[in-house]
């Protein structure tokens, strides 16, 4: 939808039908498993002419994430954490294996299909926020709704304000991103990730650039979202946070070395 809109004559204001979110029948195959990786291998070719062998970032990853789980993926720098995230968001493609997210076979989908699906079913949060610098906070949160056409004109602004209110930034709605702190920008990025009410949130080092107090506030927002039924997969190097999620997956040299449920 997004791609269609960006390449069409419409401007952002043109209203669109609210099309039902397609849940393919393959969802049934995975039951309540929202993220399923099977034998995922990712190899990167060395630079042309360097003669170096390909680098293998992921060596056959198997992983299931159930609906409602809050999973932390931890590991050292270079362990393959971000590559794993990129497989699940479809920003990068597997060399071998299968990736099913929310019932969709990402490994078989085209860029266009991935883009449409991602905008509606996945909320993505990055270490460095990625807010549009020339749009206000409110406009940044409205953007995904507008691009996907999931909320009719009028309701997208209302919803964006509600989301900003949830992350306690409603009073700053009309400011530009550079006028607020890093922690506040990350809260806006969370509000934006929630814009289309996706069932799954994927976060890559969301607290990596924040001080510990601010990181704690972000973590509490995540905890609340899980309580409300969202499924969250978060890459972090913060072991203290990792101990407070429902499951911790440790990754080293492109392999999962342990998967530990939190003690009840």
């Amino acid at each position: 939808m997004l791609r269609k809109r960006l390449f069409s004559d419409t401007t952002a204001a043109v209203s669109s039908e609210r099309s039902p979110t397609s849940r393919s029948s393959t969802a049934d195959q995975t039951g309540d498993v929202l993220i399923r990786l099977r034998g995922v291998v990712k190899r990167y070719q060395a630079a042309a002419g360097s003669g170096a062998p390909p680098f293998t970032a992921l060596h056959g990853i198997d992983l299931d994430v159930q609906r409602g789980e809050f999973v932390a993926v931890i590991g050292k720098s270079g362990a393959g954490k971000t590559t794993l995230i990129n497989m699940i968001t479809g920003v990068d493609h597997v060399s071998e294996g299968e990736v099913w997210v929310d019932g969709q076979p990402l490994h078989r989908m085209s860029e266009n299909q991935l883009c449409q699906w991602r905008g509606r079913r996945l909320g993505i949060i990055y270490q460095s926020f990625y807010l549009m610098p020339s749009l206000t906070l409110l406009q940044n949160v409205m953007l995904p709704m507008d691009l996907c056409g999931l909320y009719r004109n009028g309701s997208s602004e209302k919803r964006a304000m509600e989301l900003l209110d949830m992350v306690e930034l409603a009073e700053h709605a009309h400011k530009l991103p550079n006028a607020i702190s890093g922690g506040q920008q990350q809260r806006v990025a969370i509000a934006r990730a929630l814009a289309n009410d996706p069932p799954i949130i994927v976060a890559d080092e969301p607290t990596g650039r924040l001080d510990s107090n601010t990181a704690e506030a972000i973590f509490q927002i995540f905890t609340r979202l899980v309580d409300e039924g969202k499924t969250i997969l978060m890459v972090t190097h913060d072991r203290s946070i990792a101990s407070r999620v429902s499951r911790t997956v440790r990754i080293a040299d492109g392999r999962i070395i342990s998967s530990t449920d939190a003690e009840a």
Partner: protein, 378 residues
């Protein structure tokens, strides 16, 4: 316009003719927090003209980014005005401001902030889509042209994560240009890049200036700043007089600021006789001036041009007098620090004497620097 991101096409800045495109009038910005008040800008007045490429430099904390934020409307002044194309931008409400900004300003930051799930092409199309600029075919064509302009032809369909930091910054510049804004504001655009990539980005800016854009660039890279058409130097929230910064670059910024405060504008329309106690410090800013050493009638007069200086140090040594006269073609202008203030400065600023000697060597060339030696030459 509730419930929509759509920005109707708003008129772009009109042609300003000879008037400044951007005018900052007595801008004061004070931040308040739990620890108290901090004044980031203390009465900044500056003009920027169409087609200029101006660098804004100063130490960390000197107010550079705050100054840029006053022009982009990211932040508002505590007092003072910013006029752009004759419009007082801080009188606009937030939604008018965002329409206006979308069409008139391109903004580039140190961190590129491209949308990670959109290709480079889509990232560049996005601002046009948001403002309703061009039709679909026109947007895509323009986005491809802009990416080619910044050296990214062939990378249109890559996601940001698949290209280097320098390439992401180039794409961010292409995005900033999407709506063809007349003004580009860049805050440390090369701060996150290696020096070679920084050079590439700078070359793009230079090309844009030649194409008629007005560019303001905040930077801490003195080498890049020297290559712009003009440099504004900020110290402690105030602008240093550009003549002072150009003539005495070795001075600490606090000394430059002191001189900026104490130098007074003078017009030289008739000859003036000066001696070691009345000479003080002169910085010439317009027209040309002849300096004749009195009592050495054989000596050749020295011609002083804008950017040159003259100080009492050179006269005191010889106990000489000097006559300063405009060079026939009308009055000359200068900045003057009188004799008493000059002596006070020499006493209180440990580096002043050495800096003046350095500057004299630069001005006259050679070790035997100074107006006396120069004037005595046959």
């Amino acid at each position: 316009m509730p419930g929509t991101l759509n920005m109707p096409v708003v008129p772009q800045i009109r042609d300003c003719g000879e008037a400044p495109l951007i005018e900052m009038r007595s801008i004061v910005k004070t931040f308040k927090n739990a620890a108290g008040e901090f004044t980031a800008l203390r009465g900044v007045t500056a003009c920027f003209y169409e087609g200029e490429f101006v660098s804004i430099v100063g130490k960390s904390g000197s107010g550079k980014s705050t100054l840029a934020n006053m022009i982009t409307g990211i932040d508002h002044p505590t007092s003072g005005q910013v006029l752009i194309g004759g419009v007082d931008i801080h009188k606009m409400n937030e939604s008018d401001m965002s329409l206006w900004r979308g069409r008139n300003l391109g903004i580039v930051f140190q961190f590129f902030q491209l949308m990670p799930t959109l290709t480079l092409l889509e990232n560049v199309i996005l601002p046009m889509y948001l403002t309703g600029y061009l039709d679909a075919a026109g947007r895509e064509k323009r986005a491809r042209e802009l990416l080619a302009l910044v050296g990214l032809a062939g990378f249109e369909d890559k996601l940001p994560a698949a290209v280097s930091g320098g390439q992401q910054q180039c794409a961010a510049i292409a995005r900033a240009l999407a709506n063809d804004p007349p003004i580009l504001i860049a805050d440390e655009p090369t701060g996150n890049l290696d020096s070679r990539t920084a050079d590439d980005v700078f070359a793009i800016f230079s090309g844009l200036m030649e194409a008629g854009k007005t560019i303001l660039m905040v930077t801490h890279d003195a080498g890049l700043a020297r290559r712009t058409s003009r440099t504004l130097l900020l110290s402690d929230g105030e602008l240093i007089n550009p003549w002072v910064a150009a003539c005495f670059p070795e001075l600490p910024h606090s000394q430059m600021l002191w001189l900026s405060h104490h130098l007074q504008e003078r017009s030289l329309d008739e000859p003036r006789r000066l001696d070691g106690s009345t000479c003080g410090l002169w910085l010439f800013t317009g027209g040309t001036v002849q300096a004749h050493l009195n009592g050495t009638s054989q000596a050749r007069p020295v011609t002083l041009q804008p950017g040159h200086f003259l100080s009492a140090l050179e006269l005191q040594a010889a106990g000489a007098q000097l006559i300063l006269s405009p060079n026939g073609d009308g009055p000359a202008s200068a900045l003057h620090l009188d004799g008493d203030a000059f002596r006070k400065w020499l006493q209180e600023a440990p580096d002043a004497r050495r800096t003046l000697q350095q500057a004299a060597r630069r001005q006259y060339g050679g070790e035997q620097a100074g107006i006396l030696q120069r004037g005595d030459q046959p």
